[in-house]
């Protein structure tokens, strides 16, 4: 029998202070019974002697001091898992909401997980072909990587994330593949877009969805990504699947965290976010990767919207310090009608060098991408110059670079939402674009590659 307490002393925002409690443990799961008989979940944030501070995952409206009951469960927040979670839709706390049957669990897993021993990790090296040139060619995704999409309000990050989920595959491999999708604070329409997308491509039976919508309790969001990653770890490391995790939108997650921190009157770090935001985000993002001797893997694509498109805002900033690169969307490209509007220069894949090259993609992939990067950067610089001084001020060479960067945006970056380019196609476009430039400027690519891939194409 669970111990039940009627000793609530304070309710402040999402926090409940309870007195006279015996044997409470830090991070323990509690059930909060509302005066109207409904039951919500919460967990222990702090214990001191007989005082316990709880955070309620449910909105606290309707609670009162006299008649609220709290029961201590003696365990942490857990997710019941079995193979049957595939194809199911859950709420942000892992309760089915698709009218399907209850999950009969093989195991109940603590959603906080344990850190992977760095010695047990295996380095991500398998190139994932997403079919999107701006990613595959320049900022390639590697199996086991965590690569966020930094977006802004009104930009097509959902479509891009869905396209990646639809097209992603490893060259020459057919393996068990699953998608775990966690929605935090997004609107019904956005969530529905993904559900429909999974349904229409028959991917739903390979997917597990955790949905916390904008009007669901905000504090519940703190558990949602951990639910999703617990499911992902189960699928990847116990059922040997390759799992792609999409977390959208991390900004709302961080805001929920800030809400709790503010209610606890903690000393804030930047912009009111708690000082431990970095560590907290790390416990989410670091749950990606490969483990030696394990067949499965977890690849993470968190999506976050940057307030005011500001990359130095604490959320994108701290995310960038943890993840292995970032894909940044550009409002400018979007305005000019270019899809996907990926701003390739500040985008980065830190695992690029390990995932490409001979035996993985092609020998010329790395130098070619460096050449494209530096040429595009120079073209953009020249364009800025032209804005101030006029076209006439540009040298002939600079004009070529401007032409290059325009064509590059139009032919390399721009592609259809359902266009799935192979890596060879992507690289071929890259080489073709380089012909615009004087040969002497191609300093980053090797002679032999120029002959083989650029000029060789002439003879063919």
């Amino acid at each position: 029998m669970l111990k039940e307490y009627l000793t609530v002393r304070e309710i402040v925002g999402p926090l409940i202070l309870l007195e006279g409690v015996e044997g409470a443990k830090y991070n323990e799961l509690v059930e909060v019974e509302f005066p109207d008989g409904s039951v919500g979940l919460g967990n222990v944030l702090e214990v001191e002697e007989d005082l316990v501070l709880l955070q309620s995952f449910e909105a606290t409206s309707g609670l009162n001091i006299a008649r609220t009951k709290v029961r201590f469960t003696g365990r942490g927040l857990e997710l019941p898992v079995s193979r049957d979670i595939l194809g199911r839709v859950f709420d942000g706390l892992g309760r089915p909401i698709d009218n399907g049957p209850r999950i009969i669990p093989d195991e109940r897993l603590d959603i906080n997980g344990n850190p992977i021993n760095p010695f047990a990790r295996d380095f991500p090296t398998d190139f994932i072909q997403t079919g999107i040139s701006a990613i595959d060619g320049l900022n390639p995704l590697v199996r086991g990587q965590k690569l966020p999409i930094f977006s802004g309000a009104g930009l097509p990050h959902s479509r891009l994330a869905a396209q990646i989920a639809r097209q992603a595959g490893v060259l020459g491999m057919e393996e068990e593949f699953a998608v775990v999708f966690a929605a935090m604070g997004i609107t019904f329409e956005e969530a529905e877009f993904f559900v429909q997308e999974f349904r229409s491509t028959a991917a739903l039976e390979r997917a597990v969805l955790f949905i916390n919508l904008a009007d669901d309790p905000a504090i519940e969001r703190i558990a949602t990504p951990r639910m999703a990653l617990t499911a992902a770890e189960y699928l990847a490391f116990e059922l040997d699947m390759h799992v792609l995790v999409i977390l959208i939108d991390m900004t709302y997650y961080c805001e929920a965290l800030r809400e709790i921190s503010a209610a606890r009157k903690e000393v804030p770090g930047r912009r009111g976010y708690p000082g431990y935001l970095y560590t907290d985000l790390a416990t989410i993002y670091e749950r990606a990767g490969r483990i030696k001797d394990a067949k499965g893997s977890i690849t993470q694509i968190p999506v976050l919207s940057m307030p005011d498109d500001d990359k130095t805002h604490p959320i994108p900033d701290l995310t960038g310090y943890i993840t292995e690169g970032q894909i940044i969307l550009s409002r400018d490209l979007h305005r000019r009608g270019i899809y996907p509007p990926i701003d390739v220069l500040p985008s980065l894949s830190r695992l690029k060098e390990k995932g490409i090259g001979v035996g993985k993609t092609r020998e010329d992939h790395s130098p070619l991408s460096n050449q494209l990067f530096s040429a595009y950067a120079r073209g953009k610089e020249a364009k800025e110059l032209a804005v101030i001084l006029g076209e006439a001020a540009l040298s002939d060479e600079d004009k070529l670079f401007v032409q290059f960067s325009d064509t590059f945006e139009d032919r390399f970056i721009r592609q259809g939402e359902y266009e799935d380019r192979s890596i060879d196609e992507t690289l071929a476009i890259g080489w073709e674009l380089l012909r615009i430039l004087p040969r002497a400027e191609l300093k980053r690519v090797k002679e032999e590659h120029i002959r083989k891939y650029m000029e060789g194409a002439d003879q063919a």
Partner: protein
């Protein structure tokens, strides 16, 4: 067993009461899982404890046991090639015993008790020895001879000395002291927060050669020096740190992955055994100790990790080795301080960091240096400390960067603007600096060439001039420049692209010796000087740029170390082509 009782749990902070005889920074074991923690505050009968492991499931009433000792590391043969967490638990052993995840309450000694090491005595019975004297040696790896030293505070006459195979707990020697016989093992314990002792500290003199051109030539660090690498994310801090760990001419490298990515440590772990040290020809791992406390591992252990690292570094320094200690990233360490400070409800300083942030950082970097070690031999060893800093939003005015800049002597400022253009290492050559420049120039004069310092100054001048001229070009256009000025732009571009840029992932380019750096720089500056002379003769700039030889200069960084004479030919070519054009014009 003396036990106290938990009264409060808040994240990594636990408060216990009634601990018998608690002392600040004593190590304690908390709860039934015996989680490791450290006392960081005492108030009356209450002790605040930072716990190095996840505290979920702890609650009031749980038992706390004090060990009565501060957090210490085990020092002895077996450190090299190891990978530890922040409190020196061997991660490889933990994986073998407990599986793929780091679970709680794991206790494993830092040094293997089973492994036997062949001990070669260096003293005889009857010899007088003082602390720091080498009693014997062990070939720890093929490249490093481990010296078993008499621990601090012991002095006397050797009454027994062993020879043969021992484990780290076996007595290898007995020393007759005024206070009785002291048995000596190959292992010492040392509290991590206390600097290890030395006889005398000295000013640094020799450079720590890293093989990175912009570092060695423009902003050198000396052996025993301190440096910081601040930069926004994606600017290449970790790649630079890894490159230095790989190629620096330190004999020992201690790499502390402090609150950073798990995959980065994996990268080091998988790569270092494969890479060969350019100095010894043996795998790099044989001279490396790794400390990995990744961002998702408990935050208090992250705070301890840099101390664990520098204590191990000091231990090898005491043997007379040159050690490079690299901490990536000190910002994460500072954040751990901030988190603990917040939980203690201390009055915050700037941006929530504790007011003692600056003192702690200074005390850490001050443990670097070149010293004369304890012992009668007068060995010289050094610890060079290189810390990355991750300023939020790349804003260098934030407290951690500022507190770091006050103590370190070298500043390699990384910039995302350069990184976006894939200019690596993305060190800004205009605002970075090294206060070791003059010391290092003396070394260059003797070991490389007397003209090196002058060349460097000229190259720096050209780069600075370029920045000024770029302003002009931006406002008025390139036509506004004189021919001399356009030549400066041309040479500066060559310096940036052909000298400063270096590809850490290209086998031929990853490491450049000092001699080759000098030759490469001389080649570019020679072009500049000769072209300038032609300009003075009245020839137009158009004839002096876009020469075929410039393409060869661009590829000169790939000239192998053993074919240095190719630089002679290239320099001749530069002269020919600059003059050759002239003769065509005259003809």
């Amino acid at each position: 067993m003396e036990a106290g009782v938990v009264v409060k749990v808040s994240g990594p902070l636990v408060v216990a009461r009634d601990l018998p005889d608690p002392k600040m920074y004593d190590l304690v074991k908390v709860g039934k899982d015996r989680l490791m923690g450290e006392i960081i505050e005492l108030r009356g009968n209450r002790a605040s404890i930072q716990v190095y492991e996840e505290t979920a499931g702890l609650g009031p009433g749980d038992e706390v046991i004090s060990t009565g000792e501060p957090l210490s590391v085990e020092l002895g043969p077996g450190l090299l090639t190891s990978i530890y967490d922040g409190v020196q638990r061997p991660l490889d052993v933990i994986r073998a015993r407990y599986g793929n995840y780091v679970t709680r309450g794991v206790e494993e000694p830092g040094l293997s008790r089973e492994r036997k090491w062949p001990f070669q005595p260096a003293v005889k019975v009857g010899d007088e020895v003082v602390a720091g004297d080498v009693l014997g040696t062990v070939q720890e790896t093929t490249v490093i001879l481990h010296k078993v030293m008499l621990p601090a505070g012991v002095e006397g006459k050797v009454s027994h000395i062993g020879e043969g195979d021992f484990n780290v707990e076996d007595t290898v020697a007995v020393v007759e002291t005024s206070g009785g016989e002291v048995p000596v093992t190959m292992m010492q314990r040392w509290p991590v927060r206390r600097p290890r002792l030395y006889r005398e500290k000295m000013a640094p003199s020799e450079p720590l050669v890293t093989g990175q051109r912009i570092v060695d030539t423009l902003f050198p660090i000396s052996m025993g020096g301190t440096a910081c690498v601040p930069g926004p994310f994606g600017s290449g801090k970790t790649v630079l740190q890894h490159a230095i760990a790989k190629w620096a001419n330190a004999q020992i490298v201690v790499f502390v992955g402090c609150g950073e990515r798990g995959n980065e440590m994996t990268d080091v772990l998988l790569e270092f055994p494969e890479l060969t040290d350019p100095y010894s020809g043996e795998p790099l791992m044989l001279r490396t100790v790794l400390i990995a406390n990744t961002s998702n591992m408990p935050v208090a252990a992250r705070e301890a990790s840099v101390y664990t690292g520098i204590t191990i570094a000091e231990y090898y320094r005491d043997m007379g080795y040159h050690v490079a200690l690299q901490a990536d990233s000190t910002s994460r360490w500072a954040e751990a301080l901030r988190e603990i400070s917040g939980r203690l409800e201390e009055m915050p300083g700037e941006e929530g960091y504790p007011a003692y942030l600056g003192t702690r950082l200074a005390a850490f970097y001050e443990r670097a240096g070149r010293v004369i070690c304890l012992g009668r031999e007068g060995r010289v060893g050094s610890v060079s400390a290189i810390g990355s800093v991750s300023p939020p939003g790349g804003d260098l005015s934030e407290p951690v960067t500022q507190a770091t800049l006050r103590v370190v002597k070298v500043f390699w400022g990384l910039e995302d603007r350069l990184a976006f253009a894939r200019h690596f290492p993305a060190i800004n050559w205009l605002n970075s600096y090294s206060l070791y420049q003059e010391k290092v120039e003396e070394y260059w004069n003797q070991e490389v060439d007397e003209a090196y310092a002058e060349l460097r100054a000229e190259a720096m001048g050209i780069l600075q001039r370029e920045a000024e001229l770029q302003e002009v070009v931006r406002l008025i256009g390139i036509e506004a420049l004189s021919d001399q000025e356009r030549l400066v732009m041309e040479t500066a571009k060559s310096l940036r692209e052909d000298f400063l840029q270096q590809n850490a992932f290209d086998d031929a380019d990853a490491f450049t010796s000092l001699m080759k750096q000098y030759r490469l720089l001389r080649l570019i500056v020679t072009y500049h000087r000769l072209a300038n002379r032609e300009l003075e003769k009245g020839r137009p700039i158009e004839e002096l740029i876009d020469l075929p030889v410039q393409e060869e200069i661009a590829r000169a960084k790939f000239i192998p170390e053993e074919e240095m004479e190719r630089f002679d030919r290239l320099e001749e070519k530069v002269a020919e082509q600059l003059a050759g054009e002239a003769s065509q014009v005259n003809a």
